[in-house]
């Protein structure tokens, strides 16, 4: 049983792509598709690496991350953030929220894989 990755993303095709890439590398990929209860899902089943989309239905990725870091003491949880919004202020927002890695869509598969490996080993 490899390390676990939790992917919170609402776009089915992207879920499929990332799942394919990571599971081929030996990761266990679990997915969740909305922002409403994302915090509870993470808390209930802490992954080794959390991949978080920004634009989620119900609650944005930033808010989810802030909540995890501030209210639930998840300061150590490695988080990789994916966003389709490429402006610099989005990166700032992500860093303020306490992200470990930040990747802009569209990404190369190798880039995501490297990032998840790094975060998983740390």
């Amino acid at each position: 049983m490899g390390k676990r990755v939790l992917l919170i993303e609402d776009e089915p095709n992207i879920i499929e792509a990332i799942s394919f890439i990571l599971s081929r590398d030996g990761w266990t990929v679990e997915t969740h598709a909305n922002g409403h209860d994302a915090v509870d899902v993470v808390q209930g089943n802490l992954p080794d690496v959390l991949i978080l989309d920004v634009m989620l239905p119900g609650k944005s990725g930033y808010d989810i991350l802030r909540e995890l870091r501030a209210h639930h003491g998840q300061t150590e949880l490695p988080v990789l953030m994916l966003t389709a919004r490429g402006q610099s202020k989005d990166r700032d927002l992500a860093e303020q929220a306490g992200v470990n890695r930040f990747i802009t869509k569209p990404f190369s598969n190798a880039e995501v894989l490297d990032a998840v490996r790094d975060l998983g080993e740390a």
């Binding site: 992207i14 499929e16 792509a17 890439i21 081929r24 239905p57 919004r85 490429g86 989005d90 869509k105």
Partner: protein, 892 residues
């Protein structure tokens, strides 16, 4: 002895002669030959109407009764004329610049052209002059009487009424011949001058005869005087000073004196000559009074009337010629006074009483000037007759029994009530109309109660009871002992109380009341008449004037700007300090500056006020009023503009808020569009890398991943199509493909397209297909696109359990309206504002589109000549489409 008829004949020829003199003078004046008419000598002689029959007959009687006291009546006017520079000069200047017609006009004009005041003064003058006219009638009647008794024809006496009628006639003929603007009567003035010579000559002739013909020379006469019953100084101090004051006041205030001194004045320079010539005339008139009185007391039988010594002495000596000359002198004195007094009073009565009333009752008539002139002339004529007849009435009432001097003094005291108001008006800017009215009313009432009414005769108007016990039995209101102070000479008693109370009331009420603007303007005009009417050459140093200008300019321009202006001008003139010389150039500059703030006419008038060289006319005032009105209108317009500005500002603020909102939306859209583009790109890239890099993919996997790439590519294309579509629509570059079609067919096609990839159960359409049977000429493809968009939106966003969209069709003439109403929760009010803007999304939760659909719909509807709006209050989301059934008709 002279027959009475002969005397009447002499009188009539003398009057005829006067007529001739007046006529010739009048004609010469009309021809413009006024040189000799306007000599200082004529002016001085015309002033001599101060010396009436009272002087001619009464002075001798006065001297025979009270010694030298009579002389005070001439000392007062002498002082006034000797001191012409103080007062008379000012009165004449004001009278000429303000074109005053009477003493009433002077007062009314000074106190803001108050007609009430003018009426008051006029009534006062009429009442005050009435005894005086009576006195003249009495003297003429008495003089006839002397001749009648001498010739034994006493029963054929020409009564006073005939004298009155004759005088009225003469005055009417020469006093109202023409209605001159300047109110000058050359004929009358000339006749008066001739009469002045006649009376002086007559009195001096009698005097010389008395001194050298009877008295035996100067020394002998003086001795005789000292031996006589009035041979020692017996004048009471209070009366001496009081009478001097009274006569001076009367000289200034008598209506007839104002007439000859101010109204008939042709040239101010005449005053300079009159200042010594008139006192000389008075000296001559009073020189022989005491000798005649003493000789008369000596020669005439005891009990004979000393008022008539001037006549009776020559008669008793058999000098009939001298007696007739003396009679003519007295006649001249009487007639000239009555004539001028009647003219002066009739001017006042007609100008201040008759004309205002007439104009009020005939509102329209005033436009026709000829008409008014006739009315004025008629009013004057009637007034003249009225005034003379009033005098006659007084004469009849008083019974003609009083001494001439006593009547004259009663009259003087009444007229003197005007003095405080005149002096205050000429020298004190604080004098107000209310003060003047109070002073005049009080003074006049006191005079009426304490002197005039008692003078008519005890028991005639005021009963003996009142005289002895006071009004209402209040002892402090006894007519000749006001406030319980008894033992005063009645005349001095009245003079003191009336003038004192008059002055106190005048000043007191002036202090507490506030003048109207016109009063203040006129006050400044009168008090500073010499600064206003004099030429540029002035003794006042320029600095004082510049200071005044500075004070005024500061008030109008503000301190800083005014000081800058003045010091700039001073530097330019090379003058040290900050006050420039008031040169014409500087004044022009200042006037221009001021007129920018207060208007041209106002500025002109203000500078004129300070610098002089002009007087403010009614036209100036009208212009000032006009300017104020314009300024008010201007400020009203300014207010309007500022209101409009604030309305505009409010609109701008609203627009700005909207812009800000849109800008925020635009930012949000950029993120959104980026997201919408990158999301499909991400899938495309990820799966193409997988296909490229992973060798061992199953057939099924390969197909699946390839079709994902394909779908995402289509999604991208659709997004780009929408953007392009909107861009084209917004830029107006779209070309419409107009066709005839049926509304029902369009809706069918739209429903089919929008619900094609659906199982059909999710959204149910409710339509009334019968109503949709409407032919329509439009671009069917574009309209269908709008329908599709609305139906898809409903399909995507309607949250009801069994989503349902109701399409209602209505038609009003050429206008078609379609409502698309679903049964969901609708759109929040905040969102309703922006849903038609580009990039707006109704909800973040269902990221079905890029937020361009409704924006595109709106653009399409605008192209098709209609519009799409959100319908409020329908429960669910509701859109209304209005469009013409025939786009070409609508376009027209």
């Amino acid at each position: 002895m002279i027959a009475l008829n002969a005397l009447v004949a002499i009188c009539l020829s003398y009057v005829a002669f006067l007529f001739a003199v007046a006529f010739v003078a009048e004609r010469a004046a009309r021809r413009g030959q006024v040189g000799w008419l306007r000599s200082p000598l004529v002016y001085t002689l015309s002033l001599s109407i101060y010396c009436t029959a009272w002087t001619f007959y009464g002075a001798v009687g006065y001297a025979a009764r009270s010694g030298l006291e009579y002389i005070t009546i001439y000392l007062g006017p002498s002082l006034v004329m000797l001191g012409w520079w103080w007062l008379v000069r000012k009165m004449v200047r004001i009278g000429r610049t303000q074109r005053l017609t009477s003493i009433a006009d002077l007062i009314s004009s000074r106190f803001g052209k108050s007609n009430l005041l003018a009426i008051g003064v006029t009534i006062l003058a009429v009442i005050g002059t009435t005894p005086y006219i009576a006195l003249q009638l009495q003297s003429v009647t008495l003089s006839f009487d002397v001749f009648a008794q001498a010739s034994g024809e006493a029963e054929q006496l020409p009564s006073a009424i005939w004298v009155a009628i004759g005088l009225a006639l003469f005055t009417v003929v020469f006093g109202t011949r023409n209605l001159d603007v300047n109110e000058r009567h050359h004929g009358v003035v000339m006749a008066i001058a001739v009469e002045a010579v006649v009376k002086l000559f007559a009195l001096m002739a009698v005097g010389l005869f008395v001194v050298w013909g009877i008295g035996g020379g100067l020394g002998a006469t003086l001795e005789k005087i000292d031996d006589s019953e009035i041979g020692a100084w017996q004048v009471e101090g209070g009366r001496w000073a009081g009478l001097m004051l009274l006569s001076a006041a009367a000289f200034l205030c008598l209506p007839r004196m104002f007439q000859v001194m101010v109204v008939e004045n042709d040239d101010e320079a005449h005053l300079r000559t009159a200042s010594w010539a008139f006192p000389t005339y008075l000296i001559c008139m009073s020189l022989f009074v005491v000798p005649i009185a003493v000789v008369g007391l000596d020669l005439m039988p005891a009990g004979s009337n000393p008022d008539l010594f001037v006549l009776t002495i020559p008669l008793s000596q058999g000098r009939e010629g001298l007696a007739i000359l003396s009679f003519l002198g007295g006649f001249s004195s009487a007639t000239s006074m009555v004539i001028v007094a009647a003219i002066a009073l009739s001017t006042m009565v007609s100008n201040h009483i008759v004309m205002p009333i007439w104009l009020r009752f005939t509102n329209s008539g005033a436009v026709v000037s000829g008409d008014v002139r006739n009315v004025v002339l008629l009013a004057r004529r009637l007034s003249i007759v009225g005034v003379v007849m009033l005098g006659y009435l007084y004469y009849r009432l008083s019974g003609g029994g009083n001494a001439l001097a006593a009547i004259g003094l009663v009259s003087f005291t009444g007229v003197a009530q005007v003095l405080p108001v005149v002096l205050g008006g000429l020298f004190w800017r604080g004098a107000t109309r209310i003060g003047a009215f109070a002073g005049l009313t009080l003074g006049f009432s006191v005079w009426l109660f304490t002197l005039f009414l008692p003078s008519v005769g005890t028991g005639v108007v005021i009963s003996t009871t009142v005289m002895e016990q006071g009004f209402f039995g209040w002892s402090w209101l006894r007519p000749q002992a006001l406030f319980g102070i008894e033992g005063l000479d009645p005349l001095m008693h009245t003079l003191f109380w009336s003038l004192a109370l008059n002055t106190i009331a005048f000043f007191g009420f002036s202090l507490v009341s506030f003048p109207t603007p016109l009063e203040r303007l006129q006050g400044a005009q009168f008090v500073n008449i010499f600064q206003h009417s004099s030429s540029v050459r002035s003794w006042s140093p320029g600095v004082a004037q510049s200071e005044d200008l500075m004070v005024m300019a500061q008030r109008i321009l503000g301190a800083g700007e005014a000081q800058a202006l003045f010091s700039r001008a001073a530097r330019k003139q090379g003058v040290s300090g900050n006050l420039p010389e008031p040169t014409p150039g500087f004044l022009e500059l200042l006037e221009r500056e001021l007129s920018g703030s207060v208007g041209a006419a106002t500025a002109h008038a203000m500078i004129g006020q300070i610098v002089g060289g002009m007087s403010v006319s009614v036209q100036d005032l009208m212009a000032v009023a006009d300017e104020s009105a314009q300024l008010m209108e201007y400020s009203a317009r300014l207010k309007e503009q500022s209101d409009e500005l604030s309305r505009t500002a409010r609109k701008l603020r609203e627009a700005n808020q909207k812009l800000t909102r849109i800008s925020v939306q635009k930012d949000a859209f950029l993120s959104q569009i980026s997201h919408e583009l990158r999301t499909p790109m991400t899938s495309v890239r990820a799966f193409s890398e997988i296909l490229r890099d992973s060798g061992q993919l199953t057939e099924a996997e390969q197909t699946k991943y390839a079709s994902i790439i394909h779908d995402e590519a289509i999604r991208l294309t659709r997004l780009l199509d929408d953007l392009l579509d909107l861009s084209v629509l917004e830029n107006g570059q779209v070309s419409l493909n107009l066709r005839h079609d049926m509304l029902r067919d369009l809706l069918d096609r739209a429903a089919a397209a929008a619900l094609a990839d659906d199982d059909g159960s999710a959204l149910r359409l409710r339509r009334d297909r019968a109503l949709e049977d409407i032919p329509i000429y439009t671009d069917p493809d574009r309209l269908t696109q709008v329908f599709i968009n609305l139906i898809s939106n409903s399909k995507k966003y309607c949250e009801a359990e069994t989503p349902e969209l109701h399409i209602r069709v209505g038609q009003r003439g050429d206008l078609l309206s379609l409502d698309f109403v679903d049964n969901g929760f609708g759109i929040s009010p905040e969102a309703q504002d922006v849903i038609f803007e580009k990039f707006a999304r109704v909800s973040d939760q269902k990221a079905g589109g890029a937020g361009l659909g409704l924006a595109i719909c709106r653009q399409i509807m605008a192209r098709l000549g209609g519009e799409i709006t959100y319908l409020k209050g329908e429960g669910g989301a509701a859109f209304r489409i209005d469009l013409p059934t025939n786009i070409t008709v609508a376009a027209q």
